[in-house]
């Protein structure tokens, strides 16, 4: 099973769009691939588009939470975009509210969020020097 989710580089960001029904091994592989891609490209942000996912169970939910915390440790911000309303309702009832995972309604808003975060970060550094 060599199926992999593609990771695209867009400037300082990485874009991941999950378009298939994920089995567990693919989810684990994505977590690993994304971690090494952040390291290799020094990406500042990750946009994880899950708009095609018809369900998120506890395993996939854990992968999303892991990607978010691992990227944070590697100094990259993750924004999860496009979660379907029925998926969100089910996740919460399942008992997973994904604390610490940043979300946005769609790719555009997610991009805005990442850009703003990076600009904000730069201003902070300038402020420290002053």
């Amino acid at each position: 099973m060599a199926e992999r989710i593609p990771i695209l580089k867009m400037g300082e960001f990485l874009l991941v769009t999950i378009q298939v029904d994920l089995h567990d091994q693919m989810a684990m592989q994505l977590q690993e691939d994304l971690t090494s891609a952040i390291e290799r490209t020094s990406a500042k942000g990750v946009l994880l588009d899950i708009s095609a996912l018809e369900m998120v169970d506890s395993f996939i939910g854990r992968m999303i939470a892991n990607i978010s915390s691992i990227s944070g440790i590697l100094d990259a911000r993750t924004v999860v975009v496009g979660m379907r309303p029925q998926v969100a309702i089910t996740l919460v009832e399942l008992g997973l509210s994904l604390p610490g995972v940043e979300t946005a309604l769609d790719v555009d808003r997610g991009m805005d969020r990442l850009r703003a975060a990076i600009e904000g970060g730069r201003l902070d550094v300038v402020g420290c020097q002053g």
């Binding site: 029904d21 369900m55 506890s58 399942l94």
Partner: protein, 138 residues
Amino acid sequence: MSSVVKADAIPVRTEQDVVLARQAVRRMTQELGFSLVDQTKMVTAASELARNTVIHGLGGRMHWEVLQDWNRKGLRLRFQDEGPGIADLSLAMTDGWTTGGGLGMGLTGSKRLVNDFEIESVPGQGTRVTITRWKGVA
């Protein structure tokens, strides 16, 4: 009394089977006319239980039954394995309890996603989890 309109079973032995079980449940709930939210809840519960069958039960089967009551339709799924079983069921039904390195939300979480949940387990003989969801019942 509800009667069984259709019934069959599919193997649940590999990760790929978990995906196939999910897709089968999606199709059946669509055919039954479940709302999108109810479809997603049943599919998600099936995914959790199918994964348990593969990982903890060392493989088994998902039996499904389309049910017809006098005034309602539903879907019943039974996940059955011949694995090591669960020694302490009440402990296994606690949020956050896990042996599989997961979040420990699989059993308790899927119980919250369905109308009816039954679990039977005999150590050394296996585990059977039965869930039912009716169309339009919250």
